[in-house]
């Protein structure tokens, strides 16, 4: 992989190969999903978990969205789903190697978010203040 393509393929790259470019965008769209990121984070830090544990660990997620997110992640090969044929049912989810590697790739983003939280809030306050004054005048 050339150093030039460390990031998303440039427009030139997409003109050469629009299909691959579109697919990369599609994958980014999938992976850059709020619930996917939060579930990924939980599974990365807490290891193998069952459905209800994940629901508890991801604040605000509904059962429907959790099921949907886990199915997508399973389809994409990010998690394994293990069903224990017992009563009551027991289903456990665990990151695959690919899932773990994605978690590591996102690590920098989490750090960035924590580190820059206050700066973002300040920026927003400033922006909103300027906007308010613009309306007055």
């Amino acid at each position: 992989m050339p150093a030039k393509l460390l990031h998303k393929p440039s427009p030139a790259y997409e003109e050469l190969d629009p299909v691959v470019g579109a697919l990369v965008d599609e994958v980014i769209g999938r992976v850059a999903d709020k619930w996917t990121m939060l579930v990924l984070e939980v599974l990365e830090t807490q290891g193998k978990l069952r459905f209800t544990r994940i629901a508890e660990a991801v604040p605000g997620i509904s059962q429907k969205m959790l099921t949907q997110t886990l199915r997508q992640m399973e389809r994409d090969g990010l998690v394994t789903r293990t069903i224990y044929p017992v009563i009551p049912p027991r289903v456990e989810y665990e990151l695959t190697d690919m899932g773990k590697s994605l978690g590591e790739a996102f690590c920098g983003v989490w750090q960035w978010a924590e580190k820059n939280l206050k700066r973002i809030e300040k920026s927003r306050a400033k922006f909103d203040l300027r906007a308010a004054r613009a309306i007055e005048s």
Copy 2:
């Protein structure tokens, strides 16, 4: 951010500081947005650009979404917006230092996406095949 929780417990960091935890989630939700990521990437690799150039470089984005995304990024302090009072209007967008640092944080995710594209496609094909067979039987 969802308002209501269907369950009681929370992740470790939220128990320590629920407010900060919620804010980190909010920032992640914002930053882990498809269009934000794509625009960020374009500005990172191509530097200062005007509105139409960005639109051309981000395949599939609508004018509305580009405007919205750029406004949010400006509000969060990720980009600067420079207006040249000429006719026709000329507006240029450029990453701030904070925007650039976010771009670097996302670098690993881009690499991951390119690297694992084929593996994801294979996983999906396999999953869909199993699902199809499950329906038949």
